[in-house]
C-alpha cells in the first residue's frame, strides 16, 4: 500500500485518506485550480483557440438550429444546437423526460449538411435517438422560465434586465444531462483520450457546457430582437458574464465516484498533493500574498451570492460566511502570511478555528498563489484503464487482510446486521432506468441491489477470509467464493490508490447522497451548490466566465471567483454580433 505520507519528498505529506475520504468532508469540497472547467478555459486561452458560428438559423419564436465551432490548434469541435418550442407543462428537470427547450451534441469536427440532417433526426430525441462515433456528447437544457422571460422582455423593451433577478437564479437555462463516453452511441472516451486537449477528465463535457452557455446568450438576444425589433438591445456583457448554465444533478451521479475508484483516487490525490506542496512552500512573496487576499475577498462575495433553502446547506453557508470573515480577520492580523510556511500555518490554524465547509474552501484558496507547483498536477488526474483492473491472484490472504484492516478497520466492528447500518439499497428502477436509493426494510428492492456499498462488502470479505491461512494466494479463495470477487478487486485497487474508497457507509440510514454529488461536482468546478433535497442538487457552471469572444483577453483562470466590483453594467450596450453567421470571436482577428 502506498504510504500517503511519503509519496513526496516533503516535510508535510498528503492528508490521511481516513480524514479526507469521510463524506462530511468530501461533501464540503470547493472548486479549485485543478477543476476541469478551469483546466479547459486556461487551455483555450493558452492555445489561442478561436470560435466561429457557422450556422444560426433560428426563427422568431426561437425554433431552429445553430452550429458553434471551437477551433483548436489541431482539431475543431462543433456544438450543434437545436432549439424547440416547448410548452411550459412539458418542462421537467427529471433526467427522464421526452421534450426539452434545447438539445445539443458536440460534433467532432465541423458537421456537413448531411451530418446536420442525421443529427436533427436524433439529437432532439435524446435517449430515444442514436448518435455515432463522430459525436462526443449528448445534452439538453431547459429554460429557467422566470429569468428567461424577464430577460427577453427587458431586452425587447430596450432595457437591461435586473441584476438582482439574474443573481437570484444565476442561469437562463439548466442542463438536465450531459452524456459522454460512448453513451447512446457516442464515441468512447478511449478513442479520444489521446488528444492533448481532451486528456484531462470531462473536457468534452465541459467544452459542451461552455459552448451551450454562449449559444444560450445568443439565443436570448435573438429572441429579444425578434420581439422588440429596433427597440431591442443586446444583453450587456457585464450582465451576461454573471449568467452561468444551471445543472440539475440527482442520484445518477452518486454511483460514479463509487464505480470509478481509481479515477477518484487520481482526483483526490492530485488535490491532496497540491495541498501538501502548497503547505511546504517556505515563504510567500508579496505578490503571492496579494493573490491569496484577492481570492479570499472574492470568495467572500461568492458566499454572499450562494443561496440554498436546504436546511443543512443553508446552515453551512451561514457558517461559511462567518468562517470566511474570521479567516479574513486572522489574515489581516499582522504577519500570518509573512512567516515560514505560511500556507501550512494557515491550514493548521483552520483545522481548529473553522468548520469543514470553510476548511475545504481554504484548501482551494491557498492553492491559488501556488500555481507553479499545483497546475502541473492536472496531468495526473486521468485514469483510462478503470474497467481493466485485473485481479492479482498471487496476493496472499494475509496481505489482503492487512489492507482491509488498514482501510476499513473503522468499520469492521460495526454491527452489519443492524437496520441502521444497512437501511438503504442502491438500485435501478425498471420504470425510469434511473439509479435510486430505496429502504431495505420497507420496499422489496434488496434483490436488485447495485454494488454500491463497498464498506459493507469489504467487511463481509474480511469475515469470509477469517478461516483462510495467511500464506494462501487469493486465487484459491476466489475459486470457491466468486461472490467476493467485486470486493476483492476493490481491496487491490485501494492498496495502491489510497484515496479510492469513501471511508463511510454508503447504505447507512443517515447517508446524505448530496455529499457524494458535491465531491464530484467540485472537481468539475461547479459553484452555488443548492441541494433541493438530500438527493438532488442544482448547481451553476461557468458563472462569471468570459464568453468565447472575450476569452483571448479575458480572465481565463480566476473567473470562478466573482469580481469585487459588483456594480452591474448599466451603461450603453455593445452588442456581440448575434444574428449574422460568421466569426464570433477570434484571437487571429485581433
Amino acid at each position: 500500500m502506498t504510504d500517503f505520507a511519503k509519496t513526496e519528498d516533503v516535510a508535510v505529506g498528503r492528508r490521511d485518506p481516513a480524514e479526507v475520504m469521510k463524506l462530511a468532508r468530501l461533501g464540503s469540497f470547493h472548486p479549485c485550480r485543478l477543476s476541469f472547467m478551469r483546466q479547459l478555459t486556461r487551455r483555450l486561452q493558452r492555445e489561442r483557440w478561436t470560435f466561429s458560428r457557422g450556422v444560426f438559423e433560428v426563427d422568431a419564436s426561437g425554433v431552429g438550429h445553430a452550429v458553434l465551432t471551437a477551433h483548436g490548434p489541431e482539431r475543431d469541435y462543433s456544438l450543434v444546437a437545436f432549439a424547440h418550442d416547448l410548452p411550459d407543462e412539458q418542462r421537467s428537470d427529471r433526467v427522464i423526460a421526452e421534450a426539452w427547450d434545447t438539445t445539443f451534441t458536440l460534433f467532432d469536427g465541423v458537421p456537413t449538411d448531411a451530418d446536420l440532417e442525421r443529427l436533427r433526426a436524433n439529437v432532439p430525441l435524446q435517449e430515444a435517438g442514436r448518435i455515432t462515433e463522430t459525436e462526443l456528447t449528448l445534452s439538453r437544457a431547459n429554460r429557467s422560465v422566470r429569468l428567461w422571460e424577464h430577460v427577453v422582455d427587458a431586452l425587447a423593451a430596450g432595457r437591461q434586465p435586473d441584476v438582482a433577478r439574474i443573481d437570484e437564479v444565476g442561469y437562463l437555462m439548466r442542463t438536465t444531462a450531459v452524456y459522454g463516453s460512448g453513451k447512446f452511441g457516442a464515441a468512447d472516451r478511449e478513442t479520444i483520450a489521446g488528444r492533448p486537449e481532451l486528456a484531462a477528465p470531462f473536457q468534452v463535457e465541459m467544452l459542451t457546457v461552455y459552448l451551450i452557455r454562449a449559444f444560450v446568450r445568443d439565443l436570448v438576444d435573438h429572441v429579444a430582437r425578434e420581439q422588440g425589433g429596433r427597440d431591442a438591445v443586446a444583453l450587456a456583457p457585464g450582465l451576461a458574464r454573471r449568467i452561468g448554465i444551471g445543472n440539475s444533478t440527482g442520484l445518477g451521479m452518486a454511483p460514479f465516484i463509487v464505480n470509478h475508484p481509481r479515477l477518484l483516487d487520481r482526483w483526490i490525490g492530485a488535490r491532496e498533493t497540491a495541498l501538501s506542496r502548497a503547505r511546504n512552500v517556505a515563504t510567500a512573496s508579496a505578490a503571492e500574498r496579494d493573490v491569496f487576499r484577492d481570492v479570499l475577498e472574492r470568495a467572500i462575495v461568492s458566499a454572499t451570492r450562494w443561496r440554498s433553502a436546504h436546511p443543512v446547506q443553508h446552515d453551512r453557508i451561514l457558517g461559511l460566511r462567518d468562517d470566511l470573515a474570521r479567516l479574513r480577520s486572522h489574515v489581516e492580523r499582522g504577519d500570518v502570511l509573512a512567516g515560514h510556511r505560511p500556507w501550512d500555518a494557515l491550514h493548521r490554524w483552520a483545522a481548529d478555528a473553522l468548520g469543514l465547509e470553510a476548511q475545504e474552501c481554504l484548501v482551494s484558496l491557498l492553492l491559488e498563489p501556488c500555481a507553479a507547483v499545483v497546475d502541473g498536477l492536472a496531468d495526473t488526474m486521468t485514469c483510462d484503464d478503470e474497467s481493466a483492473s485485473p485481479i492479482d491472484g498471487r496476493v496472499s490472504i494475509g496481505e489482503t487482510r492487512r489492507v482491509l484492516e488498514s482501510v476499513h478497520g473503522w468499520a469492521l466492528g460495526l454491527d452489519w446486521g443492524a437496520r441502521e447500518q444497512i437501511a438503504r439499497v442502491w438500485y435501478v428502477s425498471a420504470e425510469k432506468l434511473e439509479p435510486r436509493l430505496g429502504e431495505r426494510f420497507e420496499e422489496p428492492v434488496a434483490p436488485y441491489e447495485q454494488p454500491l456499498a463497498p464498506v459493507r462488502d469489504a467487511c463481509a470479505l474480511h469475515r469470509a477470509l477469517a478461516d483462510w491461512p495467511d500464506e494462501t494466494p487469493v486465487a484459491r479463495f476466489l475459486l470457491r467464493h466468486p461472490a467476493h470477487r467485486h470486493a476483492l478487486r476493490r481491496v487491490q485497487v485501494v492498496a495502491e490508490a489510497p484515496y479510492a474508497e469513501i471511508r463511510d457507509n454508503t447504505i447507512a440510514a443517515g447517508l446524505l447522497p448530496i455529499d457524494m454529488l458535491r465531491a464530484k461536482l467540485s472537481f468539475f468546478g461547479a459553484v452555488r451548490f443548492d441541494p433541493r433535497s438530500d438527493r438532488w442538487v442544482r448547481i451553476c457552471l461557468y458563472a462569471d466566465a468570459p464568453y468565447p469572444e472575450e476569452l483571448a483577453d479575458g480572465e481565463a483562470d480566476f473567473w470562478c471567483y466573482p469580481p469585487l466590483d459588483e456594480q452591474p453594467a448599466t451603461g450603453p450596450v455593445v452588442g456581440h454580433g448575434v444574428a449574422a453567421p460568421g466569426r464570433v470571436a477570434s484571437v487571429a482577428d485581433r
Binding site: V178, G182, F184, G185, E205, T249, G252, P444, A475, S533
Partner: protein
C-alpha cells in the same frame, strides 16, 4: 445496431448479472465481451449464448474444481467466464509452460481475454487452442490460426491453454482492432432483457417516496 464499446460492456455486465452471475464475475464478463468485440469477434453474442445456457438451470456451469493440470467442472461443463477468471487469477501459480487442459468448456473464445491477463502475469503470450483453431493473446494483441471467425462453438470437449514463445505467437498476423460493435437487433433485445432483470419494478411506494430525488442525473460519463 452500432454500439460504442462502452455501451456494449455496460450492457453485457448488466446482462451477466441479470442472468445470475455475481457482480464481480459479471464485471469480468462485460470486460471480456468488450475486449473480444474490440478485435472484431462476436463477444456479446458469445456471452449471450452462455447466459442462455445458464439461464433457468439449477446446475449452473462451473468453476474448475481444482487448479491442477486438467480442469473439469465436475457435474457439468466449465463456464468460460469462471474458468477464465481462474486462469487469470492463478496464472503465476499453475504451470502455463506445460499448459492446462480444460475439459468440456462452453464458448471457449470467451477464455481469450483472460488468457490476455494471464499473459501479462507470465510475460509471455498465452494460446487458447481447440480442434484446428489456436488464438494467442500477448496481453494486448490477439493472433489466430485456423478459422476462428467461424469458431462460434457453444461447447468444446478439450481446450488447451498454454504459454508460447513470442516467435510462435507472431507467426500469425494480429487481428485488426475496431472501436465499434455491431449487434443484431434480436441479440441486442435479448441482452437487454437479461439486463432488465437487474432493475427493480417500480412500486407505488417508491414512486410516492420519490426515491430518485426529483432532479436529473447529469454529466454522468467518465
Amino acid at each position: 445496431m452500432n454500439l460504442s464499446l462502452g455501451e456494449l460492456e455496460a450492457l453485457c455486465r448488466k446482462a451477466a448479472r441479470g442472468a445470475g452471475f455475481d457482480w464481480g464475475v459479471a464485471e469480468e464478463a462485460g470486460r471480456a465481451a468488450r475486449q473480444l468485440s474490440a478485435s472484431g469477434l462476436r463477444g456479446a453474442e458469445l456471452l449471450l449464448a452462455r447466459l442462455d445456457d445458464r439461464d433457468g438451470t439449477s446446475a449452473a456451469p462451473l468453476s474448475p474444481r481444482a487448479l491442477d493440470g486438467e480442469w473439469r467442472g465436475g457435474d457439468g461443463p466449465l463456464c468460460p467466464i469462471l474458468a477464465g477468471a481462474a486462469l487469470a487469477d492463478a496464472a503465476s501459480e499453475i504451470d502455463l509452460s506445460r499448459g492446462v487442459l480444460l475439459h468440456d468448456v462452453l464458448a471457449p473464445l470467451l477464455l481469450l481475454p483472460f488468457a490476455g491477463l494471464a499473459a501479462r502475469h507470465v510475460e509471455r503470450p498465452v494460446t487458447v487452442a481447440w480442434a484446428d483453431i489456436a488464438v494467442s493473446h500477448d496481453g494486448s494483441v490477439l493472433r489466430a490460426s485456423g478459422d476462428h471467425r467461424s469458431a462460434f462453438e457453444r461447447r468444446v470437449d478439450r481446450v488447451r491453454c498454454r504459454a508460447c514463445t513470442e516467435a510462435d505467437a507472431t507467426r500469425h498476423p494480429p487481428m485488426a482492432r475496431t472501436t465499434r460493435a455491431t449487434l443484431d437487433p434480436l441479440d441486442l433485445s435479448r441482452l437487454e432483457a437479461y439486463a432488465q432483470r437487474t432493475c427493480a419494478p417500480a412500486t407505488e411506494d417508491s414512486r410516492r417516496r420519490g426515491a430518485g430525488g426529483g432532479g436529473g442525473s447529469e454529466i454522468d460519463s467518465g
